[in-house]
């Protein structure tokens, strides 16, 4: 018949080889994720207690005595939500301007290129930049400065993600709505928004995830304190720095609490990303693909 498998033909060997490489890559990725989770869970879970998430550090906390990291949890929530909110206010107009006026023109290309460059800049550089700016303006490390610098970090991610969503908006959809006698506002509100909302939600939460996990930029700009911030001008703690400082401690109990803080941060990021998937799947039900 000549239809039997010829295992030693070159193309079959190449096929097998490639498949094996891909499987190894998959195992490495999944293994890394598993190891990370196992490390923070096995070391952090024993130290995780109600006190950890409900109390601020008390005297001697950093030597292993009582208290928790509520200051860092609340601080991170403030920093990341504030930064994300500010970033939305700037990214959405940029993304809409890119679509409506620049399009695929030369200038549109330049704007997208600069956003991509900004995306690639390490956060410690943002931190240093923010620090220099604060010195010039005479500001001290504060919640406000942290929010501003996180907004700057989130801005390129959010804008580029929104830009992709808006660019994928099919023109026929708007035309269909216009053909029924819609005004431009009705088209924007009832059709364009519905079509793009799931993508925009994803863009926002992607940026939020980066913002809440960033340590280097807030180290310079928001400082660290054991108190929960009561105003925008006060310094604030954050979870990534809580992890960093406690892991650097010589006391084993404190180190364990560092892992617990990492676990809390991971849980928050995981919850946000699962929540965003759920939300965008719900919103996506009616969109035109």
């Amino acid at each position: 018949m000549g239809m039997k498998k010829k295992y030693f033909q070159r193309r079959h060997i190449v096929e097998l080889f490639m498949k094996t490489i891909m499987r190894i890559a998959l195992v490495i990725v999944a293994g890394a994720l598993g190891l990370i989770l196992w490390t923070i869970i096995s070391r952090g879970l024993p130290a995780l207690s109600w006190d950890m998430v409900s109390q601020v550090p008390k005297g001697g906390y950093y030597m292993g005595k009582e208290g928790g990291i509520l200051n860092a949890i609340i601080g991170s929530a403030y920093l990341a939500s504030g930064g994300t909110l500010l970033a939305i206010l700037i990214s959405l107009p940029i993304a809409l301007y890119l679509k409506a006026y620049l399009g695929d023109s030369k200038w549109g290309g330049y704007v997208r290129l600069s956003l991509d460059v900004l995306w690639g800049i390490p956060s410690v550089v943002y931190g240093a930049f923010g620090f220099a700016l604060m010195i010039i303006l005479g500001l001290r490390a504060s919640l406000l400065a942290g929010i501003i610098i996180l907004a700057l970090i989130e801005l390129p991610i959010m804008t580029r993600a929104m830009d992709e969503v808006i660019r994928r908006m099919p023109a026929e959809l708007e035309h269909a709505a216009f053909a029924l006698g819609s005004t431009k506002f009705e088209v924007a509100l009832r059709v364009v928004t519905r079509q793009m909302l799931p993508g925009i939600v994803t863009a926002v939460l992607l940026a939020f995830g980066r913002g809440i996990g960033d340590a280097a930029s807030v180290l310079f700009t928001a400082g660290y304190t054991d108190r929960i911030p009561t105003s925008l001008m006060r310094p604030t703690a954050s979870l990534p720095l809580a992890v960093f400082f406690q892991l650097g401690s010589p006391y084993p109990e404190v180190q364990q609490r560092g892992y617990a803080a990492a676990l809390i941060l991971t849980i928050i990021v995981l919850a946000v990303s699962l929540g965003s998937r759920w939300l965008s799947a719900r919103l996506n039900k009616y969109t035109v693909k």
Binding site: H175, A179, L180, G181, S182, R190, Y286, V288
Partner: protein, 251 residues
């Protein structure tokens, strides 16, 4: 002839290129008018001047008049949304709105505030889905996404959606070109049923479809109207050599 649409001295330019050259035609009320001609002759451009759709394209310039019931729709005081409400469009490819089947039909009625109660909207949605011949297929899944329908069903949904805003005129821009033969036949038979109540203008590039549908025919070539008249006359006894050649399939 009882003309529903009158076109007077219409010229359209895309940049420097002239797409329509001094068009003067009349379109009869409550009949099917078919605009035909080789591709690039300006059929679709002419059609899109009837609902002021050319304004959505950058760089299209229009001069002359298009009168619907004696009113020039390009007049300064005319509201473009009212024009498009009165002149519905069935596009080349169906494009359902990003919402449920029910909401697609209700959308136009909502924005024009045509009904006051939920019950009335429900009844109207059913009515127009029935007219479009879609009710039987979708009445159990009205809240499914419109994109879950087949292409042929989507085009009938678009017909129902367009009829729901109570237009007087239906424009069809090659409305069956993306559909399979059975769906095409379905759309054609709907249009034939509806022609007593609506003035219908269809652009097509298939001669056979033109013959099946047309009461009145406009033949265009290179941006000009070469011949216009009742279908029987144009098909059996064309006055112009160009029309004759086209009908004989010479190009």
């Amino acid at each position: 002839m009882d003309a529903h649409i009158q076109v007077k001295n219409l010229n359209v330019y895309y940049g420097k290129q002239q797409a329509l050259k001094n068009i003067n035609i009349e379109i009869p009320k409550n009949q099917i008018t078919v605009i035909m001609g080789p591709s690039g002759c300006g059929k679709t451009t002419l059609l899109k001047t009837f609902n002021r759709f050319l304004e959505l394209l950058d760089g299209a310039q229009i001069s002359g008049e298009v009168l619907v019931d004696g009113q020039n729709i390009y007049d300064r005081e005319v509201d473009v949304t009212e024009v498009r409400k009165a002149v519905g469009l069935l596009a080349q490819r169906p494009s359902p709105l990003p919402m449920s089947i029910y909401d697609n039909v209700a959308y136009g009625m909502h924005i024009h505030k045509m009904k006051s109660e939920r019950k009335e909207y429900k009844a109207a949605v059913r009515h127009y889905l029935e007219i479009a011949g879609l009710w039987e297929e979708v009445h159990k899944r009205l809240h499914d996404p419109a994109t879950s329908l087949s292409i042929g069903q989507q085009q009938r949904l678009c017909l129902a959606r367009g009829l729901a805003v109570e237009p007087e005129i239906i424009l069809g821009d090659e409305p069956t070109s993306a559909l399979d033969p059975i769906s095409s036949q379905n759309i054609e038979s709907r249009l034939l049923q509806l022609k007593q109540q609506y003035t219908t203008v269809i652009v097509t590039h298939t001669l056979r479809q033109a013959k099946r549908l047309a009461d009145y025919v406009i033949y265009m070539y290179l941006g000009e109207v070469i011949e216009a008249g009742p279908a029987r006359e144009v098909f059996t006894n064309p006055k112009h050599e160009r029309t004759k050649q086209y009908l004989e399939g010479l190009f």
